[in-house]
Amino acid sequence: MKAKQEYLRHQVHHMQIIKLTTSEIDYLKSEHKSLTYNRIKNIIEGTLSFNLKFSDEKAIEDKYQVEIELNEVSDLGLPIVRETDGRILKIAQEKGLFFGDLHINNAEGELCIILPPKVKEKYPNGFELNTLIEHIQEHLYWVSYFEKYNKKPWKEYGHGELGYLELYIENKKLYASDVKKYFGCKSRPEFRRKIKELREKYKI
Protein backbone atom coordinates (compact mmCIF):
# COMPACT_ATOMS: atom_id res chain seq x y z
CA MET A 1 0.00 0.00 0.00
CA LYS A 2 2.76 2.45 0.95
CA ALA A 3 4.64 1.76 -2.25
CA LYS A 4 1.47 2.48 -4.15
CA GLN A 5 0.96 5.71 -2.26
CA GLU A 6 4.48 6.80 -2.97
CA TYR A 7 3.92 6.02 -6.59
CA LEU A 8 1.00 8.41 -6.71
CA ARG A 9 1.62 11.31 -8.96
CA HIS A 10 -0.61 14.19 -9.58
CA GLN A 11 0.18 15.05 -13.14
CA VAL A 12 -1.45 18.44 -13.45
CA HIS A 13 0.69 21.49 -13.08
CA HIS A 14 -0.62 24.14 -10.73
CA MET A 15 -0.14 27.34 -12.58
CA GLN A 16 -3.18 29.48 -12.73
CA ILE A 17 -5.34 31.18 -10.15
CA ILE A 18 -9.11 31.54 -10.34
CA LYS A 19 -10.83 34.56 -8.88
CA LEU A 20 -14.55 34.24 -8.41
CA THR A 21 -16.78 36.83 -10.01
CA THR A 22 -19.51 38.61 -8.08
CA SER A 23 -22.16 36.55 -9.82
CA GLU A 24 -20.33 33.34 -8.90
CA ILE A 25 -20.16 34.41 -5.26
CA ASP A 26 -23.89 35.25 -5.40
CA TYR A 27 -24.58 31.85 -6.95
CA LEU A 28 -22.68 30.20 -4.11
CA LYS A 29 -24.63 32.15 -1.50
CA SER A 30 -27.99 31.38 -2.97
CA GLU A 31 -27.52 27.78 -4.17
CA HIS A 32 -24.98 26.35 -1.74
CA LYS A 33 -25.47 28.11 1.55
CA SER A 34 -23.28 25.69 3.45
CA LEU A 35 -20.30 26.47 1.25
CA THR A 36 -18.43 29.68 1.92
CA TYR A 37 -15.94 31.57 -0.12
CA ASN A 38 -12.86 32.64 1.81
CA ARG A 39 -11.60 35.65 -0.12
CA ILE A 40 -8.31 35.84 1.70
CA LYS A 41 -7.34 32.23 1.12
CA ASN A 42 -9.20 32.14 -2.19
CA ILE A 43 -10.81 28.89 -1.16
CA ILE A 44 -14.37 27.60 -1.26
CA GLU A 45 -14.93 25.46 1.80
CA GLY A 46 -17.70 23.85 3.79
CA THR A 47 -20.38 21.23 3.35
CA LEU A 48 -21.42 20.21 -0.10
CA SER A 49 -24.85 18.58 0.00
CA PHE A 50 -26.62 16.84 -2.81
CA ASN A 51 -29.77 14.99 -3.63
CA LEU A 52 -29.01 13.22 -6.88
CA LYS A 53 -30.31 10.42 -9.00
CA PHE A 54 -28.30 8.95 -11.82
CA SER A 55 -30.51 7.74 -14.65
CA ASP A 56 -32.68 4.89 -13.29
CA GLU A 57 -30.49 4.25 -10.27
CA LYS A 58 -31.53 5.09 -6.72
CA ALA A 59 -31.48 8.67 -5.53
CA ILE A 60 -29.00 9.52 -2.81
CA GLU A 61 -29.01 12.44 -0.42
CA ASP A 62 -25.65 13.00 1.16
CA LYS A 63 -23.07 15.59 2.11
CA TYR A 64 -19.30 15.87 2.25
CA GLN A 65 -16.86 18.38 3.65
CA VAL A 66 -14.97 19.84 0.75
CA GLU A 67 -12.40 22.45 -0.11
CA ILE A 68 -11.93 23.94 -3.58
CA GLU A 69 -8.47 25.40 -3.82
CA LEU A 70 -8.77 28.24 -6.33
CA ASN A 71 -5.08 29.14 -5.98
CA GLU A 72 -4.07 25.75 -7.28
CA VAL A 73 -5.45 25.41 -10.74
CA SER A 74 -4.28 22.90 -13.30
CA ASP A 75 -3.18 23.94 -16.77
CA LEU A 76 -6.50 22.47 -17.86
CA GLY A 77 -8.24 25.14 -15.84
CA LEU A 78 -9.66 23.11 -12.95
CA PRO A 79 -8.91 23.84 -9.31
CA ILE A 80 -7.82 21.22 -6.81
CA VAL A 81 -10.79 19.73 -4.94
CA ARG A 82 -10.32 17.95 -1.63
CA GLU A 83 -12.63 15.95 0.61
CA THR A 84 -11.42 17.24 3.94
CA ASP A 85 -13.12 15.01 6.45
CA GLY A 86 -11.31 11.82 5.50
CA ARG A 87 -14.60 10.10 4.80
CA ILE A 88 -13.57 8.62 1.46
CA LEU A 89 -10.34 7.33 2.97
CA LYS A 90 -12.42 5.72 5.69
CA ILE A 91 -14.81 4.14 3.19
CA ALA A 92 -11.84 2.69 1.30
CA GLN A 93 -10.35 1.42 4.54
CA GLU A 94 -13.63 -0.20 5.61
CA LYS A 95 -14.00 -1.92 2.27
CA GLY A 96 -10.37 -3.04 2.23
CA LEU A 97 -9.52 -0.95 -0.83
CA PHE A 98 -6.62 1.26 -1.76
CA PHE A 99 -7.86 4.86 -1.57
CA GLY A 100 -7.01 5.39 -5.24
CA ASP A 101 -9.75 2.90 -6.03
CA LEU A 102 -12.19 5.52 -4.75
CA HIS A 103 -10.57 8.15 -6.95
CA ILE A 104 -8.59 10.21 -4.57
CA ASN A 105 -5.05 11.05 -5.43
CA ASN A 106 -3.48 11.29 -2.01
CA ALA A 107 -4.08 11.04 1.71
CA GLU A 108 -5.11 14.71 1.77
CA GLY A 109 -8.31 13.64 0.03
CA GLU A 110 -7.59 15.27 -3.32
CA LEU A 111 -10.29 14.10 -5.72
CA CYS A 112 -9.59 12.84 -9.19
CA ILE A 113 -12.85 13.77 -10.79
CA ILE A 114 -11.97 13.59 -14.47
CA LEU A 115 -9.52 12.19 -16.97
CA PRO A 116 -7.60 15.25 -18.27
CA PRO A 117 -8.47 14.80 -21.98
CA LYS A 118 -12.15 14.89 -20.99
CA VAL A 119 -11.93 18.32 -19.37
CA LYS A 120 -12.47 20.22 -22.62
CA GLU A 121 -15.71 18.30 -23.26
CA LYS A 122 -17.04 18.90 -19.78
CA TYR A 123 -15.92 22.54 -19.62
CA PRO A 124 -16.10 23.82 -23.20
CA ASN A 125 -15.98 27.43 -22.00
CA GLY A 126 -13.29 26.83 -19.41
CA PHE A 127 -13.91 26.98 -15.67
CA GLU A 128 -17.51 27.53 -14.62
CA LEU A 129 -18.29 27.33 -10.92
CA ASN A 130 -21.78 25.83 -11.21
CA THR A 131 -20.53 23.16 -13.66
CA LEU A 132 -17.69 22.30 -11.30
CA ILE A 133 -19.95 22.06 -8.26
CA GLU A 134 -22.43 19.83 -10.09
CA HIS A 135 -19.50 17.76 -11.32
CA ILE A 136 -18.17 17.32 -7.77
CA GLN A 137 -21.65 16.41 -6.53
CA GLU A 138 -21.96 13.72 -9.21
CA HIS A 139 -18.52 12.41 -8.37
CA LEU A 140 -19.46 12.21 -4.68
CA TYR A 141 -22.75 10.53 -5.62
CA TRP A 142 -20.61 7.83 -7.26
CA VAL A 143 -18.69 7.37 -4.00
CA SER A 144 -21.81 7.35 -1.83
CA TYR A 145 -23.53 4.91 -4.16
CA PHE A 146 -20.56 2.57 -3.99
CA GLU A 147 -20.45 2.93 -0.22
CA LYS A 148 -24.12 2.10 0.11
CA TYR A 149 -24.66 -0.59 -2.51
CA ASN A 150 -21.16 -1.98 -3.04
CA LYS A 151 -21.44 -1.45 -6.77
CA LYS A 152 -20.53 1.34 -9.09
CA PRO A 153 -23.40 3.36 -10.55
CA TRP A 154 -21.48 3.90 -13.78
CA LYS A 155 -18.18 2.76 -15.19
CA GLU A 156 -15.02 4.44 -14.02
CA TYR A 157 -11.84 4.69 -16.03
CA GLY A 158 -9.04 2.33 -15.12
CA HIS A 159 -6.11 3.72 -13.19
CA GLY A 160 -3.22 5.49 -14.92
CA GLU A 161 -2.31 4.05 -18.32
CA LEU A 162 -5.32 1.75 -18.37
CA GLY A 163 -7.64 4.78 -18.19
CA TYR A 164 -5.88 6.30 -21.19
CA LEU A 165 -6.05 3.03 -23.11
CA GLU A 166 -9.78 2.83 -22.44
CA LEU A 167 -10.17 6.42 -23.58
CA TYR A 168 -8.35 5.64 -26.83
CA ILE A 169 -10.57 2.59 -27.44
CA GLU A 170 -13.64 4.70 -26.68
CA ASN A 171 -12.92 7.10 -29.55
CA LYS A 172 -9.64 6.61 -31.41
CA LYS A 173 -10.01 9.66 -33.62
CA LEU A 174 -10.95 12.05 -30.87
CA TYR A 175 -8.42 11.04 -28.24
CA ALA A 176 -5.45 9.67 -30.23
CA SER A 177 -3.30 12.78 -29.85
CA ASP A 178 -3.96 13.14 -26.09
CA VAL A 179 -3.22 9.46 -25.48
CA LYS A 180 -0.12 9.58 -27.68
CA LYS A 181 1.12 12.57 -25.72
CA TYR A 182 0.40 10.86 -22.40
CA PHE A 183 2.52 7.86 -23.39
CA GLY A 184 5.23 10.13 -24.79
CA CYS A 185 5.20 8.41 -28.17
CA LYS A 186 7.03 10.35 -30.85
CA SER A 187 5.84 8.45 -33.91
CA ARG A 188 2.74 6.64 -35.08
CA PRO A 189 4.48 3.22 -35.24
CA GLU A 190 5.74 3.71 -31.69
CA PHE A 191 2.22 4.64 -30.59
CA ARG A 192 0.75 1.60 -32.36
CA ARG A 193 3.27 -0.65 -30.63
CA LYS A 194 2.43 0.90 -27.26
CA ILE A 195 -1.28 0.38 -27.77
CA LYS A 196 -0.72 -3.22 -28.88
CA GLU A 197 1.44 -3.88 -25.86
CA LEU A 198 -1.17 -2.39 -23.49
CA ARG A 199 -4.05 -4.26 -25.09
CA GLU A 200 -2.17 -7.48 -24.55
CA LYS A 201 -1.28 -6.50 -20.99
CA TYR A 202 -4.88 -5.63 -20.06
CA LYS A 203 -6.50 -8.12 -22.44
CA ILE A 204 -8.81 -5.56 -24.00
Binding site: K4, Y7, L8, R9, H10, Q11, F50, N51, L52, K53, F54, S55, K58, A59, I60, E61, G100, D101, H103, I104, N105, C112, I113, I114, L115, K118, K122, E134, H135, E138, H139, Y141, W142, W154, K155, E156, Y157, H159, G160, G163
Partner: protein
Protein backbone atom coordinates in the same frame (compact mmCIF):
# COMPACT_ATOMS: atom_id res chain seq x y z
CA UNK B 1 -45.57 6.71 8.49
CA UNK B 2 -49.08 6.06 7.31
CA UNK B 3 -48.23 2.66 5.78
CA UNK B 4 -46.52 1.44 8.95
CA UNK B 5 -49.48 2.44 11.12
CA UNK B 6 -51.90 0.68 8.77
CA UNK B 7 -49.74 -2.46 8.91
CA UNK B 8 -49.34 -2.18 12.68
CA UNK B 9 -53.10 -1.92 13.05
CA UNK B 10 -53.50 -5.07 10.93
CA UNK B 11 -50.77 -6.91 12.83
CA UNK B 12 -52.43 -6.49 16.20
CA UNK B 13 -55.97 -7.14 15.08
CA UNK B 14 -57.32 -10.67 15.51
CA UNK B 15 -57.44 -12.67 12.31
CA UNK B 16 -60.70 -13.97 10.95
CA UNK B 17 -59.80 -17.53 11.97
CA UNK B 18 -59.01 -16.39 15.51
CA UNK B 19 -62.37 -14.64 15.70
CA UNK B 20 -64.08 -17.74 14.34
CA UNK B 21 -62.26 -19.90 16.89
CA UNK B 22 -63.46 -17.69 19.75
CA UNK B 23 -66.99 -17.70 18.37
CA UNK B 24 -67.04 -21.49 18.00
CA UNK B 25 -65.94 -21.88 21.60
CA UNK B 26 -68.35 -19.49 23.27
CA UNK B 27 -71.23 -20.66 21.09
CA UNK B 28 -70.52 -24.27 22.07
CA UNK B 29 -70.54 -23.38 25.76
CA UNK B 30 -73.73 -21.36 25.58
CA UNK B 31 -75.38 -24.14 23.56
CA UNK B 32 -74.46 -26.67 26.25
CA UNK B 33 -75.91 -24.44 28.97
CA UNK B 34 -78.99 -23.65 26.91
CA UNK B 35 -79.68 -27.35 26.46
CA UNK B 36 -79.69 -27.82 30.22
CA UNK B 37 -81.80 -24.79 31.11
CA UNK B 38 -84.22 -24.43 28.22
CA UNK B 39 -86.48 -26.75 26.27
CA UNK B 40 -86.38 -24.83 23.00
CA UNK B 41 -83.66 -24.96 20.39
CA UNK B 42 -80.66 -22.71 20.89
CA UNK B 43 -80.82 -19.60 18.68
CA UNK B 44 -78.13 -17.49 20.34
CA UNK B 45 -80.54 -15.27 22.29
CA UNK B 46 -79.44 -16.65 25.65
CA UNK B 47 -75.87 -15.60 24.96
CA UNK B 48 -74.59 -12.06 25.52
CA UNK B 49 -71.04 -11.23 24.55
CA UNK B 50 -69.31 -8.34 26.32
CA UNK B 51 -65.77 -7.16 27.09
CA UNK B 52 -63.00 -6.88 24.52
CA UNK B 53 -64.40 -9.55 22.22
CA UNK B 54 -67.58 -7.55 21.89
CA UNK B 55 -65.78 -4.25 21.33
CA UNK B 56 -63.10 -5.98 19.21
CA UNK B 57 -60.39 -4.29 21.23
CA UNK B 58 -58.57 -7.56 21.82
CA UNK B 59 -55.12 -7.82 20.36
CA UNK B 60 -52.80 -10.18 18.60
CA UNK B 61 -50.61 -12.11 19.40
CA UNK B 62 -52.99 -13.88 21.75
CA UNK B 63 -51.88 -14.40 25.30
CA UNK B 64 -53.20 -16.78 27.93
CA UNK B 65 -55.02 -14.06 29.83
CA UNK B 66 -57.06 -12.90 26.87
CA UNK B 67 -60.34 -14.55 27.81
CA UNK B 68 -63.67 -14.18 26.10
CA UNK B 69 -66.32 -12.69 28.38
CA UNK B 70 -69.72 -14.14 27.78
CA UNK B 71 -72.87 -13.87 29.78
CA UNK B 72 -75.47 -16.66 29.79
CA UNK B 73 -79.06 -15.60 30.41
CA UNK B 74 -80.59 -17.95 32.98
CA UNK B 75 -84.35 -18.53 33.08
CA UNK B 76 -86.39 -16.68 35.73
CA UNK B 77 -87.19 -19.88 37.62
CA UNK B 78 -83.48 -20.71 37.92
CA UNK B 79 -82.77 -17.21 39.23
CA UNK B 80 -85.63 -17.48 41.70
CA UNK B 81 -84.54 -20.94 42.79
CA UNK B 82 -81.05 -19.77 43.70
CA UNK B 83 -82.19 -16.40 45.02
CA UNK B 84 -84.38 -18.21 47.54
CA UNK B 85 -81.62 -20.65 48.33
CA UNK B 86 -80.95 -20.99 52.05
CA UNK B 87 -77.16 -21.01 51.85
CA UNK B 88 -74.92 -19.14 49.41
CA UNK B 89 -77.25 -19.09 46.39
CA UNK B 90 -74.81 -17.35 44.02
CA UNK B 91 -72.12 -19.92 44.84
CA UNK B 92 -74.57 -22.76 44.29
CA UNK B 93 -75.59 -21.35 40.91
CA UNK B 94 -71.97 -21.09 39.80
CA UNK B 95 -71.38 -24.65 40.99
CA UNK B 96 -74.36 -25.87 39.00
CA UNK B 97 -73.07 -24.08 35.88
CA UNK B 98 -69.69 -25.72 36.42
CA UNK B 99 -71.29 -29.13 36.83
CA UNK B 100 -73.19 -28.75 33.58
CA UNK B 101 -70.10 -27.68 31.71
CA UNK B 102 -67.80 -30.22 33.34
CA UNK B 103 -69.42 -32.98 31.32
CA UNK B 104 -67.86 -31.49 28.20
CA UNK B 105 -65.24 -29.00 29.31
CA UNK B 106 -62.53 -28.38 31.89
CA UNK B 107 -63.67 -25.61 34.18
CA UNK B 108 -62.20 -23.61 37.01
CA UNK B 109 -63.17 -20.62 39.13
CA UNK B 110 -61.82 -17.19 38.39
CA UNK B 111 -62.10 -14.15 40.64
CA UNK B 112 -63.25 -11.03 38.83
CA UNK B 113 -64.21 -7.57 39.92
CA UNK B 114 -67.81 -8.66 40.08
CA UNK B 115 -67.13 -11.87 41.95
CA UNK B 116 -66.46 -15.36 40.79
CA UNK B 117 -67.09 -16.49 37.27
CA UNK B 118 -66.61 -19.85 35.66
CA UNK B 119 -63.58 -20.15 33.46
CA UNK B 120 -63.54 -22.78 30.74
CA UNK B 121 -60.03 -23.69 29.73
CA UNK B 122 -59.14 -25.03 26.33
CA UNK B 123 -56.24 -27.29 25.57
CA UNK B 124 -54.11 -24.77 23.69
CA UNK B 125 -54.92 -22.14 26.34
CA UNK B 126 -56.16 -19.72 23.71
CA UNK B 127 -59.58 -18.11 23.85
CA UNK B 128 -60.50 -19.48 27.23
CA UNK B 129 -64.08 -18.55 27.99
CA UNK B 130 -65.30 -16.76 31.10
CA UNK B 131 -68.95 -17.46 31.52
CA UNK B 132 -71.16 -15.46 33.83
CA UNK B 133 -74.71 -16.66 34.47
CA UNK B 134 -77.11 -13.71 34.68
CA UNK B 135 -80.76 -12.92 34.89
CA UNK B 136 -81.98 -10.16 32.62
CA UNK B 137 -84.37 -7.60 34.03
CA UNK B 138 -87.03 -5.76 32.04
CA UNK B 139 -84.85 -2.64 31.95
CA UNK B 140 -82.24 -4.69 30.06
CA UNK B 141 -79.75 -4.71 32.91
CA UNK B 142 -78.67 -7.96 34.52
CA UNK B 143 -78.55 -9.52 37.96
CA UNK B 144 -75.40 -11.55 38.47
CA UNK B 145 -74.30 -13.88 41.24
CA UNK B 146 -71.54 -12.72 43.55
CA UNK B 147 -70.41 -15.66 45.61
CA UNK B 148 -68.09 -13.68 47.88
CA UNK B 149 -68.89 -12.69 51.48
CA UNK B 150 -71.70 -15.20 51.93
CA UNK B 151 -73.19 -14.43 48.54
CA UNK B 152 -75.13 -11.56 47.02
CA UNK B 153 -76.95 -10.65 43.81
CA UNK B 154 -75.49 -7.62 42.07
CA UNK B 155 -76.65 -5.39 39.26
CA UNK B 156 -74.59 -5.47 36.09
CA UNK B 157 -74.99 -3.28 33.04
CA UNK B 158 -72.59 -4.34 30.29
CA UNK B 159 -74.85 -2.73 27.68
CA UNK B 160 -74.07 0.76 29.02
CA UNK B 161 -70.31 0.09 28.64
CA UNK B 162 -70.75 -1.25 25.15
CA UNK B 163 -72.98 1.64 24.09
CA UNK B 164 -70.52 4.22 25.44
CA UNK B 165 -67.74 2.50 23.55
CA UNK B 166 -69.71 2.20 20.34
CA UNK B 167 -70.80 5.82 20.49
CA UNK B 168 -67.17 6.92 20.88
CA UNK B 169 -66.04 4.58 18.12
CA UNK B 170 -68.73 5.81 15.70
CA UNK B 171 -67.95 9.45 16.39
CA UNK B 172 -64.20 8.98 15.97
CA UNK B 173 -64.61 6.91 12.84
CA UNK B 174 -63.09 3.79 14.49
CA UNK B 175 -60.14 5.60 16.04
CA UNK B 176 -61.33 4.42 19.47
CA UNK B 177 -60.94 0.75 18.61
CA UNK B 178 -57.67 1.28 16.76
CA UNK B 179 -56.08 3.39 19.48
CA UNK B 180 -57.27 1.03 22.23
CA UNK B 181 -55.65 -1.93 20.50
CA UNK B 182 -52.42 0.03 20.08
CA UNK B 183 -52.38 1.15 23.70
CA UNK B 184 -53.13 -2.38 24.88
CA UNK B 185 -50.16 -3.51 22.80
CA UNK B 186 -48.03 -0.96 24.65
CA UNK B 187 -49.29 -2.34 27.98
CA UNK B 188 -48.54 -5.91 26.84
CA UNK B 189 -45.06 -4.83 25.78
CA UNK B 190 -44.44 -3.25 29.18
CA UNK B 191 -44.47 -6.27 31.52
CA UNK B 192 -44.02 -4.32 34.76
CA UNK B 193 -46.96 -2.05 33.99
CA UNK B 194 -50.34 -2.80 35.53
CA UNK B 195 -52.94 -0.82 33.63
CA UNK B 196 -56.41 -2.32 33.79
CA UNK B 197 -58.11 -2.65 30.42
CA UNK B 198 -61.36 -0.96 31.46
CA UNK B 199 -59.44 1.94 32.97
CA UNK B 200 -57.31 2.30 29.85
CA UNK B 201 -60.38 2.19 27.64
CA UNK B 202 -62.17 4.85 29.69
CA UNK B 203 -59.11 7.09 29.65
CA UNK B 204 -58.75 6.69 25.89
CA UNK B 205 -62.40 7.53 25.30
CA UNK B 206 -62.09 10.65 27.46
CA UNK B 207 -58.92 11.65 25.62
CA UNK B 208 -60.54 11.23 22.22
CA UNK B 209 -63.64 13.08 23.29
CA UNK B 210 -61.50 16.05 24.26
CA UNK B 211 -58.93 15.99 21.49
CA UNK B 212 -59.96 13.93 18.48
CA UNK B 213 -63.76 14.05 18.49
CA UNK B 214 -63.97 13.30 14.80
CA UNK B 215 -61.13 10.80 14.72
CA UNK B 216 -58.01 10.96 12.62
CA UNK B 217 -56.50 9.32 9.58
CA UNK B 218 -53.49 7.04 9.65
CA UNK B 219 -51.16 9.78 8.45
CA UNK B 220 -51.61 11.49 11.82
CA UNK B 221 -51.63 8.46 14.10
CA UNK B 222 -48.13 9.29 15.31
CA UNK B 223 -49.45 12.57 16.71
CA UNK B 224 -52.56 10.92 18.16
CA UNK B 225 -50.41 8.41 20.04
CA UNK B 226 -48.00 11.03 21.31
CA UNK B 227 -50.93 13.22 22.45
CA UNK B 228 -52.57 10.21 24.07
CA UNK B 229 -49.45 9.42 26.11
CA UNK B 230 -49.29 13.08 27.11
CA UNK B 231 -52.89 12.98 28.27
CA UNK B 232 -52.50 9.66 30.14
CA UNK B 233 -49.40 11.00 31.84
CA UNK B 234 -51.30 14.07 33.01
CA UNK B 235 -53.92 11.96 34.76
CA UNK B 236 -51.88 8.95 35.83
CA UNK B 237 -50.93 7.98 39.35
CA UNK B 238 -47.46 7.30 40.73
CA UNK B 239 -47.44 3.62 39.75
CA UNK B 240 -47.72 4.30 36.01
CA UNK B 241 -45.87 7.63 35.83
CA UNK B 242 -42.43 6.28 34.95
CA UNK B 243 -43.83 3.95 32.27
CA UNK B 244 -45.76 6.80 30.72
CA UNK B 245 -42.76 9.14 30.89
CA UNK B 246 -40.65 6.59 29.02
CA UNK B 247 -43.35 5.95 26.42
CA UNK B 248 -43.99 9.66 25.93
CA UNK B 249 -40.28 10.43 25.48
CA UNK B 250 -40.01 7.71 22.86
CA UNK B 251 -43.15 8.88 21.09
CA UNK B 252 -41.82 12.45 21.01
CA UNK B 253 -38.53 11.22 19.55
CA UNK B 254 -40.42 9.21 16.93
CA UNK B 255 -42.53 12.24 16.01
CA UNK B 256 -39.37 14.32 15.60
CA UNK B 257 -37.79 11.63 13.43
CA UNK B 258 -40.89 11.57 11.25
CA UNK B 259 -40.67 15.35 10.86
CA UNK B 260 -37.04 14.92 9.78
CA UNK B 261 -38.08 12.31 7.21
CA UNK B 262 -36.28 9.57 9.13
CA UNK B 263 -38.87 6.79 9.34
CA UNK B 264 -36.16 4.21 10.03
CA UNK B 265 -35.22 5.86 13.33
CA UNK B 266 -38.89 6.60 14.06
CA UNK B 267 -39.84 2.94 13.59
CA UNK B 268 -37.15 1.94 16.08
CA UNK B 269 -38.73 4.22 18.70
CA UNK B 270 -42.22 2.89 17.96
CA UNK B 271 -40.89 -0.66 18.28
CA UNK B 272 -39.50 0.21 21.71
CA UNK B 273 -43.01 1.26 22.69
CA UNK B 274 -45.10 -1.36 20.94
CA UNK B 275 -42.72 -4.25 20.33
CA UNK B 276 -42.10 -6.14 17.13
CA UNK B 277 -45.65 -5.91 15.87
CA UNK B 278 -44.80 -2.41 14.71
CA UNK B 279 -43.20 -2.79 11.29
CA UNK B 280 -39.57 -1.81 11.06
CA UNK B 281 -38.38 0.53 8.34
CA UNK B 282 -34.99 -0.56 7.07
CA UNK B 283 -34.04 2.46 5.03
CA UNK B 284 -34.84 6.14 5.05
CA UNK B 285 -36.24 7.42 1.80
CA UNK B 286 -34.37 9.90 -0.25
CA UNK B 287 -36.38 12.76 -1.45
CA UNK B 288 -36.56 11.33 -4.96
CA UNK B 289 -38.99 13.87 -6.25
CA UNK B 290 -36.56 16.66 -5.40
CA UNK B 291 -33.47 14.82 -6.60
CA UNK B 292 -31.61 16.28 -9.56
CA UNK B 293 -31.48 13.59 -12.22
CA UNK B 294 -28.36 13.36 -14.35
CA UNK B 295 -27.56 11.01 -17.19
CA UNK B 296 -24.13 11.89 -18.59
CA UNK B 297 -21.69 11.97 -15.70
CA UNK B 298 -17.95 12.10 -15.99
CA UNK B 299 -16.30 8.85 -15.17
CA UNK B 300 -13.99 9.03 -12.18
CA UNK B 301 -10.35 8.37 -12.79
CA UNK B 302 -7.31 7.80 -10.62
CA UNK B 303 -3.92 8.87 -11.71
CA UNK B 304 -1.46 6.26 -10.56
Amino acid sequence: MEKQFIKFSENIRLTESQETDAKTKYTGICKTLHKSYYDNKYDGKTKFLFGSYKTKTNTRPLSQDQDVDVLFRIPEETYKKFKDYKGNGPSALLQEIKDVLNETYTTTDEIKGWGKIVLIKFSENKHNIEVLPAFELENKTFIIPNSGNGGSWDGFDPRAQIETFQSSNDKTNSLTVDLTRMMKTWVKNTPSLDYKSYELLNNIMDFLDENYKKGSDYSKYHLVIKDCFECLKAICDYSTDSHLTTALDRAKKAVDFIADNKPKEASLEWRKIFGNEFPSVTENPTNESKARVFTTPSSPYANY
